[in-house]
Symmetry: C2
Subunit: 514 residues, 2 copies
């Protein structure tokens, strides 16, 4: 595969491409995380069994709705479900049985094979914020997002060492017609980054466009044989699968592309106001959604998703980084692992309107829960603000920096002879100090993680330099990253074919803004 | 005991005290945390055994120094250690054997028995920041701490629902002579709060004063039979026990009062630049220190402490909330539990100069690590800023609020019939919503934790109200807490006796500022 890709990448590449390849700056990206630490498991086996039994009861007795989707109802009928109108009641055990053909782990390929990611098992892949209609930065405040903002976020993602994935709708480019913006978004991910990315899900035809653009980028045969997109299919909770999302899922599953089947729940509104009840509903929805993907194409890669926020019962506002959100994340991870499926949950989620302390407490609570809860695909790992209404430039680089903490923590604790450092303890002895000893000299460079954003200077120096807070430090980093960004090399023939595809598609339909 | 205390509290109390008792506002404080969740264990049993064997080697072959303390050397000689100058080499197994008389769990009594805390096993007790010479607030900036600042922090601690303990040196009152400030600090904890507190450790005579003031507050017999103070004994790492700290420990152990024996380590400077090496040294130091406490008085209550920061190898500055700090905290907790001892580690530690996003990321990383790492006594749980140089008023209430997250998370996940919510799922069905259903109405009040500091309002409302960041919201809360503070009732006779003790002690010596 690597050979094929290499060939593909250089096919038709002239002297310009080769020159570009020679002069391009290589942006270092850490390999996806492979955990060498245990998962934190909050639920007992008995609790998990209760929830699993209840989820089967929900599917068998209450059922789920597949809306405006006669083909789906027919697939379910053939599989043995009981159909009544749009309601699908699934006999106990059937959904779980159907899910068994889904792979426990898969590779998502990037156009640069060094950026391929493994999703499942002990891995953790970090992808940026998804979906906000607004952006914010310190200079310009909060405003509707544009395609230019979108491109900047893709560039920042490409420049982020600890971010493995370019994501999808890093913000909604509201200046581009709704029915055409997916083309520009995909073009940005394909040309401004060489990390893996997500496809469009807002209409089945846009999912099809995503597949076709990937066929240009990767080659048609390669796409059919390999997963090159992981896309986000939200369940319309409670217990409802609408035709738009299912239509996109059908396109992706048929083409061997990965879907995250993700209940989207504001707790107390779209699910019961209890952790166990919410987990029951999450599991029922995921079982039905993933089973359906396997009815479309057995073996299609999928991810067990769970996006669940708590709610402020005073105001009805969604809340993040709360203990209940952590409990649900942790429990959902356990349920996913018992199904042998990759797991997706939140990353740097927060409710705050600013990249301030509230945002950071909420975000850090979620990031820690996600690492320890066994998340394999972390969407919204950086840049999310204001409950997902805003993509923040400063928070993007702040969070992306914190992902480094997760990488180092996941490595676990070496206890080889060098790590034991018995020679150093003997050399230094009581009352001595370690800064100058041989062991320290040999090991200090890799010993401690350090932030590339935070300030570690003495108070006096920091004060003289303007007493900058984290937002100000992050603003400076955003500007530096964008100023030093260099586009990764892409075969000009492929670029030309992509541009022609986008132009042709755009010309084929009138603009739509709804 | 409760009867005796009640009697003591009303003894000699006249009509004024009774009137005060009737009119006093009752400040709600949560009970200390009793975990109903598993601990996160980062080290394998094999790794733990290697570290334990190495720590015995350190004690037997390298040894520890007990400085300026002939009585300590004599105690060690009698116990079977090898003494050479001030160096104490402890045969394999001896220190661990001596530690066996230390209790695995103890009660620290407060003058209000409802505020007593249990330290050990699955509990977590939260105490505020300890030691900074500076304070900071949004209005006044950074400045030297005064006794007035100290009193404000004690009041804020008393008002904090999720804080179980009044702490010790919540800031250094630099306007009071060094040799007298412990008297004013104890007086503040004893009169402005009714939560448990810590004693002075800066000189053995000041530890003795702490015991004598407690004898006035609790009664002499009560103090000898019960633990009423938990005090912080730092080890002068590496492997050195100085006469000041050991002198204080001797006073407390003789009087049945608890000590935290706590290696104080900036990684790479006072310990090897590796997690396993640092844990080896931590364990050796704790074994020696706690064994010594048991030589002074077998059965004296103690806590296995570990204060370890990582370091920025570029500048030498200590760093907080880093992955290595989490690894060491987690590993030290495992070592403590294998000794059957209560465990202390950091709380809201951070390097940031401001209560901004950096501070909150670093703090939240540490708070999460401490909850999951099995910490029993969390010092610096709130208010710590700038690597411990500054006590921040705003961060005090921000962190104290976040401690609520830990309380709820520690409760675990109920799976009783009400929590399963199967009736609600059936009632609402596919496509419905839960806000109005009976289960939600019955459960919503206790369902989700909410912050008392953060902003959950819609953007427009928040913007109209001044677009306040977390620091501004916290400033308002500090002012509100101090304005509504009411002193807890104290028997005037006891207050008078304490005042007389302090006045007499102060008059007995000249001021010293060094």
């Amino acid at each position: 595969m690597t050979d094929a890709q290499t060939k593909r990448r250089t096919r038709g590449g002239g002297g310009a491409a080769r020159r570009a390849e020679r002069t391009a700056v290589s942006i270092e990206t850490a390999r996806y995380i492979e955990r060498n630490i245990p998962n934190f498991e909050i639920l007992t086996p008995e609790a998990l069994e209760i929830i699993e039994a209840n989820a089967e009861t929900v599917l068998a007795e209450i059922g789920v709705n597949f809306v405006n989707n006669p083909a789906a109802l027919e697939r379910w009928r053939e599989a043995g479900a009981d159909i009544e109108g749009e309601r699908v009641r699934i006999p106990r055990g059937l959904a779980r049985k159907l899910c068994e053909t889904a792979p426990s782990r898969f590779t998502q390929h990037a156009r640069n094979p060094a950026r391929n990611v493994e999703i499942g098992g002990k891995t953790l892949v970090c992808a940026p914020v998804y979906g906000p209609p607004f952006v914010r930065d310190a200079e310009g405040g909060r405003r509707y997002a544009t395609m230019e903002d979108f491109r900047k976020f893709v560039k920042l993602g490409y420049m982020s060492k600890w971010l493995h994935h370019s994501g999808g709708t890093v913000c909604e480019p509201t200046d581009i017609p709704v029915n055409k913006r997916h083309l520009d978004m995909l073009m940005a991910h394909m040309t401004l980054s060489d990390k893996p990315f997500m496809g469009s899900v807002t209409d089945p035809s846009r999912a099809q466009d995503s597949v076709e653009m990937c066929e240009i980028l990767f080659g048609k045969e390669f796409v059919q044989q390999n997963t090159v997109m992981t896309s986000l299919i939200n369940v319309n909770s409670p217990l409802t699968f609408d035709d738009v999302m299912m239509g996109a899922l059908e396109v992706y599953a048929r083409n061997n592309q990965a879907c995250i089947v993700s209940p989207f729940i504001v707790g107390g509104a779209m699910a019961p106001v209890s952790v166990a009840g919410t987990l029951t509903q999450v599991l029922a929805e995921v079982l039905a959604g993933i089973a359906y993907s396997q009815l479309v194409r057995p073996g299609a890669p999928v991810i067990f998703g769970a996006f669940v926020t708590s709610i402020d019962m005073n105001s009805g506002a969604p809340t993040f980084g709360t203990p209940e959100a952590t409990q649900i994340l942790s429990g959902a991870g356990q349920l996913a692992r018992r199904m042998g499926l990759p797991f997706r949950s939140g990353g740097g989620l927060c409710a705050s309107k600013l990249p301030d302390a509230q945002a950071a407490y909420e975000t850090a609570n979620t990031l820690n829960a996600a690492l320890l809860g066994g998340v394999n695909f972390m969407l919204h790992a950086c840049g999310w603000l204001e409950g997902g209404l805003v993509s923040s430039f400063e928070k993007f680089v702040m969070d992306a920096d914190q992902l480094g903490v997760l990488h180092k923590l996941a490595e676990g604790v070496p206890v080889d002879e060098n790590a034991q450092a018995m020679g150093a303890i003997a050399e230094v002895g009581p009352g001595g100090h370690y800064l100058g000893c041989a062991h320290t000299q040999e090991n200090f460079k890799a010993a401690f993680w350090r932030s590339d954003v935070f300030d570690y200077k003495p108070f006096e120096t920091w004060d003289e330099e303007g007493a900058r807070d984290t937002q100000a430090l992050a603003s400076r980093r955003v500007a530096h990253q964008l100023a030093t960004y260099q586009e990764p090399v892409l075969d000009p023939a492929i670029r030309g074919a992509l541009e022609a595809y986008v132009a042709e598609k755009k010309a084929s339909m009138p603009d739509a803004f709804m």
